[in-house]
């Protein structure tokens, strides 16, 4: 086996200096969020284009958007705040604040998913009747597709959030070394912004 000349680089990263390792991670995550942002942007543009097409113009009535969406929005906004709290907590070496912030974010994430589910159920009636009428299907199913796509990303975010939280309880993070918390926060704020744009679009379109 050839000797590893820079022995301190971990097997999964060629970057020796921990700070530039985090800088690489942050840049990588930013690029990934840029990519996801374009994905959401494209689906919203598609939605708006079809929504504005003359064929759909005022011919059909769709039920008003579920009120519960406002509650979801509130939960998600708060969770952005709590994860920020967690991040400043670890930066200032306040482990309690980190833990409370993380747990609260997870709880709010689940609360968001729960209210979304209730909203989906409340639209089940229109969904069933609309599937029969082809032209109307778009108006109803697109709501499910857009919010569903976002919800999948929330679920995907809860996984690393849970891992980081359990590590926070194991006192693994310090003000100098807390990359995991930082990545989670970046992703979570991103989900928040996507939701706000998505919700606003749905409101205007309705």
């Amino acid at each position: 086996m050839t000797a590893d000349p820079g022995g301190s680089a971990t097997k999964s990263s060629p970057i020796v200096d921990p700070r530039s390792r985090v800088a690489a991670g942050v840049l990588g995550l930013r690029l990934f969020l840029l990519s996801l942002g374009i994905l959401f942007g494209a689906v919203l543009i598609g939605y708006v284009v079809v929504r504005l097409s003359p064929a759909l113009e005022s011919t059909f009535e769709i039920p008003p958007l579920p009120r519960g969406l406002w509650l979801s929005t509130l939960f998600l906004l708060c969770s952005s705040g709590t994860i920020h709290l967690a991040l400043t907590g670890v930066r200032r070496e306040r482990p309690r604040r980190l833990r409370v912030g993380m747990v609260a974010t997870i709880a709010l994430g689940w609360a968001f998913l729960a209210t979304q589910t209730l909203c989906w159920i409340s639209w089940a009636g229109p969904l069933r009747s609309s599937l029969a009428e082809a032209q109307r299907a778009f108006l109803v199913t697109s709501f499910y597709v857009l919010t569903g796509l976002h919800a999948i990303h929330v679920i995907g975010g809860l996984v690393p959030l849970t891992v980081v939280t359990s590590r926070a309880f194991g006192d693994r993070y310090t003000s100098a070394d807390h990359a995991g918390v930082r990545y989670c926060a970046m992703y979570w704020h991103f989900l928040d912004v996507v939701w706000l744009v998505l919700f606003a679009t749905l409101m205007v379109a309705a």
Binding site: M1, T2, A3, D4, P5, G6, A9, K11, S12, S13, P14, I15, S20, A23, A24, L27, G28, L31, F32, L34, S35, L36, I38, L39, A42, V43, G46, Y47, V49, V50, S53, A55, L56, L131, A134, Q135, R136, A137, F138, T141, S142, V145
Partner: protein, 576 residues
């Protein structure tokens, strides 16, 4: 992996030092590896296997067209053949080809680094590619796909089996989705690597031009691919649930699909061509032993191509009923894209001028690239003129144009790169004589196959037809098309012979090839400073960064059959 067998010394040669190939053995040491070199080799093998499969489909297509009437397959099978050929060549072969295989292998070494920034993500990308490949096979098993690689709606929303079925189209679109993420992660990984792992002394403008090309490609991969991802995802949802976003019978907008598709797929053609262009910049300079001409122009033209390519997708839709104003705008911008491509060609030619050109296999591929890509670009122009495109759209002229770009350009560039870095990757030299013969066969075969198709297309032969006879076809037209198609198919046999020959001598070299020196061609970028094949961590001590196109510091060593640093120079004399 057969490459492991290199480790057993054949004949009576002394066992070699440990390198990335023989440091660990066993299949698991490959499948679970985080080493960018091994991942690059796995990609290379996988991509070439896909190339073989899609090539077989192509031969079926060509044989069907040799004679008028139904020759060997019926029209439905024919539709499936060209769809699978196109989809596999684009999504499984050309998109990952150069960056994921050769790029993975040489990028970190060119930077003097141990690996890419995120080795785990790199392996993950590879397995995403494998998953995509498996799903493509599933698509074939579940009834096949006959929509063309473009998946145009409503072909793709109203299939053989009706909506709700988990059929071939569903699996193939999901394969494209998964492959898209493989591509995004590769691009992201390379961008971060270039940002964070450049060695001290290597500023942006001292990077090898191949890295500029990979960087520009990375931008396209990260920013264009999510659009195809969401498009095929919506298509799959539309097929299964009937949401009505693209399908006109459900109130959707089929033109929207075309916009989305080409918003990705035009940049995607540059994902395919930019990395080979980067290879050509290296090959031209190294094999003519002359400093690259117009470094900054070539570097910036890669970035310019990347940016412009986002603005021209509408040139695929001139006859789609999009507004005439849009047509004019897209046509105008398309012409401007040709400029940076031409800038590269001029700089390559200027590099060759008065160089001491070695006409070895990589150089022959580079010259063949310049010739074929020039034809490709020039024939893009009549397609970008609205008036002529109305005649040429959906004819063999378009087929010939994009084969000149994708095969004459992208694939030729990749073959040049494979030959250039083969000694580095495998530690063996291939037979130069057979290499030149095969390159000649591929070149001749390619032109016979596809130049004929320019003629066919301008005479009006439509693409995607399995027959050109019967009612509606004048007998003279059928006869004329028959002779042209016959010639075209003959050309493809010549080409196939060239490829089999290439596979033959390359595989032969693994066992019997001469041991490669560290620097067989006289290259100056960092990968030529480490042994062939490189050790696991690439460099025992940090390599010497300098002007990577200044060849005056190297001299030929007859005994070693390779180049090394001039003995009369101190090692750092070349550092600028």
């Amino acid at each position: 992996m057969t490459t492991n067998e290199v480790t057993t010394p054949i004949e009576s040669e002394p066992a070699r030092e440990t390198n990335y190939l023989n440091a660990t053995t066993g299949i698991m040491s490959w499948l679970g590896t985080l080493d960018h070199k091994r991942i690059g080799v796995m990609y290379l093998v996988s991509v070439l296997m896909s190339f073989f499969v899609a090539g077989l489909f192509a031969m079926v297509i060509r044989i069907e067209l040799m004679w008028p009437g139904e020759t060997i397959i019926d029209q439905d099978t024919y539709n499936q053949m060209f769809t699978l050929h196109g989809a596999i060549m684009v999504f499984l072969v050309l998109i990952p080809s150069v960056p994921a295989s050769l790029g993975n292998f040489v990028l970190p070494i060119m930077l003097g680094a141990k690996d890419v920034a995120f080795p785990r993500l790199n392996l993950f990308s590879y397995y995403l590619w494998v998953t995509g490949a498996v799903m493509a096979v599933a698509a074939i098993l579940f009834g096949g796909v006959d929509t063309g690689w473009t998946f145009y709606v409503p072909y793709s929303t109203t299939g053989v089996d009706d909506r709700g079925a988990m059929d071939g189209v569903f699996f193939l679109t999901m394969a494209v989705f998964v492959l898209g993420f493989s591509s995004i992660f590769t691009g992201l990984n390379f961008i971060v690597t270039i940002h964070r792992l450049r060695p001290p002394g290597m500023t942006w403008f001292k990077m090898p031009l191949f890295l500029w090309a990979i960087y520009a490609t990375g931008i396209l991969q990260v920013m264009a691919t999510p659009v195809i991802g969401i498009t095929v995802l919506l298509l799959a949802v539309e097929r299964t649930v009937g949401i009505g976003i693209f399908d006109p019978s459900l109130g959707g907008d089929p033109i929207l699909f075309q916009h989305f598709f080409w918003f990705y797929s035009h940049p995607a053609v540059y994902i395919m061509i930019l990395p080979p262009m980067g290879i050509i910049s290296e090959l031209i300079s190294v094999h003519s032993h002359k400093h690259i001409f117009g470094y900054r122009f070539i570097a910036f033209s890669s970035v310019a191509i990347a940016i412009f390519s986002f603005l021209v997708w509408g040139h695929h839709m001139f006859v789609s009923s999009q507004s005439p104003l849009l047509n004019v705008v897209f046509s105008a911008i398309t012409f401007s894209v040709a400029i940076p491509s031409a800038v590269k060609v001029f700089n390559w030619l200027a590099t060759l001028y008065k160089g001491s050109i070695s006409l070895n296999t990589p150089m022959l591929y580079a010259l063949s690239f310049i010739f074929l890509f020039t034809i490709a670009g020039l024939t893009g122009l009549p397609l970008a003129v609205i008036a002529t495109d109305i005649h040429l759209h959906d004819t063999y002229f378009v087929v010939a144009h994009f084969h000149y770009t994708m095969m004459g350009g992208a694939l030729t560039g990749m073959l040049g790169g494979i030959h250039h870095w083969w000694p580095k990757i495998t530690g063996r030299m291939y037979s130069e004589v057979w290499g030149r013969i095969a390159c000649g066969l591929v070149f001749v075969g390619f032109n016979v196959t596809f130049f004929t198709q320019f003629v066919l297309g301008s005479l009006g032969m439509p693409r995607r037809y399995h027959d050109y006879s019967g009612p509606g076809w004048a007998q003279e037209t059928t006869d004329l098309f028959h002779s042209l198609h016959f010639v075209s198919t003959m050309g493809s046999f010549i080409m196939a012979l060239g490829f089999f020959l290439t596979a033959g001598y390359l595989i032969h070299s693994l066992f019997r090839g001469r041991r490669a020196p560290a620097n067989p061609w006289g290259g100056r970028s960092l990968e030529w400073q480490c042994p062939s094949p490189p050790p696991v961590y690439n460099f025992a001590e940090p390599p010497h960064v300098g002007d990577c196109y200044d060849f005056s510091v190297l001299e030929w060593d007859e005994q070693e059959q390779g180049y090394h640093w001039r003995r009369d120079l101190a090692h750092d004399a070349g550092e600028a």
